[in-house]
Amino acid sequence: MQARTEPHRDDPATGRPGDQRHAAPADRLLAVAAGQDVPAEVHAVVLQEVPVLEIDRFNLWYGAKQALHRITMPIPHNKVTALVGPSGCGKSTLLRSVNRLNDLVQSVRITGDMRLNGDSIYDPRMDVIDLRKRMGMVFQKPNPFPMSIYENVVYSLRIDGENSRPVLDEVCELSLRGAALWDEVKDRLHDSALGLSGGQQQRLCIARAIAAEPEVLLLDEPCSALDPIATGKVEDLIQELRGRYSVLIVTHNMQQASRTSDYTAFMYLGRLIEYGPTTDIFTKPVLRETEAYVTGRFG
């Protein structure tokens, strides 16, 4: 955490918050709304993890409007990290900044940096295509490509020029097994992916994302377009991915965050408010604002 300069109020020695519960929930959030710089509460436990991704003083503007304010947070290796917060707080923007999908939006301007396993993501010399191959991403709505199930899974290998049948076959099976979809589709690998149900399509997208052995897996509200049963399956899958992949997941669903993640970050209006182990965030958060949000009293 050599780059960390953000002041935080935790006592790093104990990992316990200091005696800071003085502000009423609304105060800090009102201050944020008024545009004041409010320092984030980052629990010390987070800082002790090995980070796969370091977000470092990251600011982002859409035109003149600033959407992210000095976000500084490490994403632990092989852990599931959830981003929660009310709509418009910048969770998805932050996620899309990690694999530089925001480059496609013309009016976006950024300062600060992110590092993936030490490599600067926003370094001008960084090859964006190469960078994206090191990550996998799953979107809100399932977006299978208009091709067969098989070709969907091996898409990232195909565009990399891999045409060896045995390699593709193996990756396809492993990825589909990894996404808990193999048994359902193994007999129709060459049928159109568009014929799958919504939940299957989303698991297919996860299989596609893990096919390239990503260093970090980005999930952008992966269950928001799914029914409860499909959601359950995807959540089970995220549980299984835990420990094998570094996952960064955006979610609106508090239960989902508490069930599936190791760490949770609470964001509000483009600022990181509190970031710590999920159990702490949901049971004994440092800030009343966080408590108010995770218990559903506002947001």
Binding site: I129, K141, P146, Y155, I159, S192, L218
Partner: protein, 556 residues
């Protein structure tokens, strides 16, 4: 709290009934009425064309009309008018026998007619030249010999001999047109090779001599082959020469008609339904498969069908890549800004430019510009020796290119819309997998947009196949029997002029010497053109629905 957010306000008086506009009923009637009117007009137009077009070849009874003033006339009833204040009722007869009477059609007042009958042996004859003939067969002749006499016997003999005579006639024609034409082509190529050798290397005497020698060899071979063809055609025509049918007309004149001049003859009054159907189908067969006769007003339209289909398909092949690539750049690569907007507006305006302007542009740019350049470079010999341009005049390629230009806006606009309809989530998904821009376009965007692109192509084909004005300038001719794609090397002749159904409609309808007789042909040709366009469209729509099933269907 509540009262603060929703302060009391005076209640507005509501009318006792919801208004007519709110219920919306009148608008159902207005909208449905508009649609019904549109459908009625389209169905009416197509139905009328189909009915008139399909009826052209049905054998109509021949009526023998006896006139009060004396004399008889034999003809098909083409029209009837009931009496009004100015004139009595009258009927229009297709009287035929133009060379005798100077008329194809004639009006007869009903009061001037004393009797009408349908004589059994009244015969309608389609001739190679001179239009229709109506009369009664009396004798069948072979040289000086009388083979048969009396209508029944003559007809029996006619049905036996006519197919043989016609098949000999066709063979001779094929030899003359096809084989002799090929020989002449060979001879011309050899002659042009000599000229070309002189142009290429004026100093290279050896090469010129070799070319001249080759020409002489070809000339000798061609002369020998031509002699054989001459002998064969003379024999075939000699065998046909003596055969003739003698007819008596209603006006009691005697006409002797060579058998090989008769395309088809039938007696509508004694034909059974099956017989009429046979004549009907045989006339359709000739129409679809044969070359035109008599200034296009009779015979077939096969070269025009071929030309229309070939040009439309080549146009589609040309416009598809151009339009799709242009739209791809506009939609996927070009940034948003005043220039892009201006280009887009310009493309939309281009769709409104009168098509004749494209024709003039095609003639000036493609024919006289590009074509003349090609001639200068590659076909100079023809230009020098025969002062005959090859590509420097209208032709299939230039016509297809001109129409491709004309339909380009349609394809660009439709493709852009299809690309815009590809969900951005798919593009992002592809980028997130580490695909580049072109990889994303080729593997994700294009397949997904293909059905929409096909829609644009279908519209373009429908528009292009029906255009006439520009084609008149860039290669469509009244008569062009050499097909642009045929069996003689190199099989595709993009420089050849061609015939086109839409132009044929204009030509037969308005440029024909026998306008009244040609009128039913106009309907038939229109019917055929509409059918061909419909077939092309149905094929494209079928392909599109298959693509859509494969790439777009999404179920949740």
């Amino acid at each position: 709290m509540i009262s603060e957010r929703f302060p009391a306000r005076p209640r507005r008086l509501r009318s006792a009934h919801s208004s007519l506009a709110a219920q919306g009923e009148p608008w159902v009637w207005v909208t449905a009425g508009s649609l019904a009117t549109a459908i009625a007009m389209i169905v009416g137009l197509l139905g009328y064309i189909a009915w008139r077009g399909a009826g052209t070849f049905w054998p109509v009874p021949l009526e023998l009309v006896t006139l009060r003033a004396g004399g008889e006339t034999l003809g098909e009833v083409a029209d009837r008018e009931s009496a009004d204040d100015d004139q009595p009722a009258r009927r229009l007869l297709r009287v035929a026998n133009f060379e005798l009477s100077g008329k194809h059609f004639e009006w007869f007042d009903e009061p001037a007619i004393t009797a009408t009958s349908r004589p059994e042996w009244a015969t309608a004859v389609e001739r190679l030249e001179g239009g229709r003939f109506h009369g009664f067969p009396t004798r069948l002749l072979h040289g000086d010999e009388i083979v048969a006499q009396g209508p029944a016997a003559v007809w029996q003999a006619f049905e036996r001999e006519h197919p043989r005579v016609r098949s000999r006639f066709r063979r001779a024609l094929r030899l003359d047109r096809g084989d002799r034409g090929d020989l002449q082509g060979e001879l011309r190529a050899a002659r042009l090779a000599v000229v070309q050798a002189g142009l290429d290397a004026p100093a290279d005497k050896a090469r010129q001599a070799a070319a001249r020698e080759a020409e002489q060899r070809v000339a000798a071979r061609v002369a020998a082959a031509a002699e054989r063809i001459d002998a064969e055609t003379t024999r075939l025509r000699g065998e046909n020469a003596g055969w003739a049918v003698e007819f008596r007309t209603a006006a009691d004149e005697t006409v002797v008609m060579p058998l090989d001049q008769i395309v088809r003859a039938w007696q509508p009054n004694r034909l059974s339904l099956a017989g009429k159907f046979g004549v009907y189908l045989s006339r359709w067969g000739e129409f679809l498969g044969d070359d035109p006769r008599e200034a296009n007003s009779a015979g077939g339209v096969f070269p025009a069908i071929w030309g229309t289909v070939a040009m439309t398909l080549i146009m589609a092949l040309l416009v598809a890549p151009f339009g799709v690539l242009a739209a791809l750049y506009l939609k996927e690569y070009a940034g948003r800004g005043p220039i892009t907007t201006a280009v887009r507006v310009a493309i939309n305006n281009l769709a409104g430019v009168p098509s004749i302007v494209y024709g003039a542009f095609g003639l000036g740019f493609f024919c006289y510009g590009v074509g003349a350049g090609i001639d200068e470079l590659f076909f100079k010999a023809s230009l020098v020796a025969d002062s005959q341009p090859t590509f420097g005049t209208g032709g299939l390629l230039w016509a297809a290119l001109t129409l491709a230009l004309l339909t380009l806006p349609v394809v660009i606009v439709a493709t852009e819309e299809a690309l815009a309809a590809v969900p951005n989530s798919m593009r992002e998904g592809s980028y997130a997998c580490g695909a580049g821009k072109w990889q994303t376009i080729r593997r994700i965007v294009l397949p997904r947009a293909l059905p929409g692109i096909m829609t644009g192509l279908i519209l373009a084909m429908a528009r292009g196949a029906g255009e006439v004005a520009p084609l008149m300038l860039v290669g469509v001719k009244k008569l062009a029997l050499d097909l642009p794609i045929d069996g003689s090397f190199p099989f595709v002749h993009p420089e050849r002029e061609f015939m086109h159904l839409a132009y044929l409609i204009y030509d037969v309808g308005f440029q024909s010497p026998n306008a009244q007789a040609a009128q039913p042909m106009v309907f038939t040709i229109t019917f055929l053109l509409v059918t061909i366009i419909a077939l092309l469209n149905v094929t494209a729509i079928w392909i599109r629905s298959r693509l859509r099933k494969r790439f777009v269907a999404q179920q949740f």
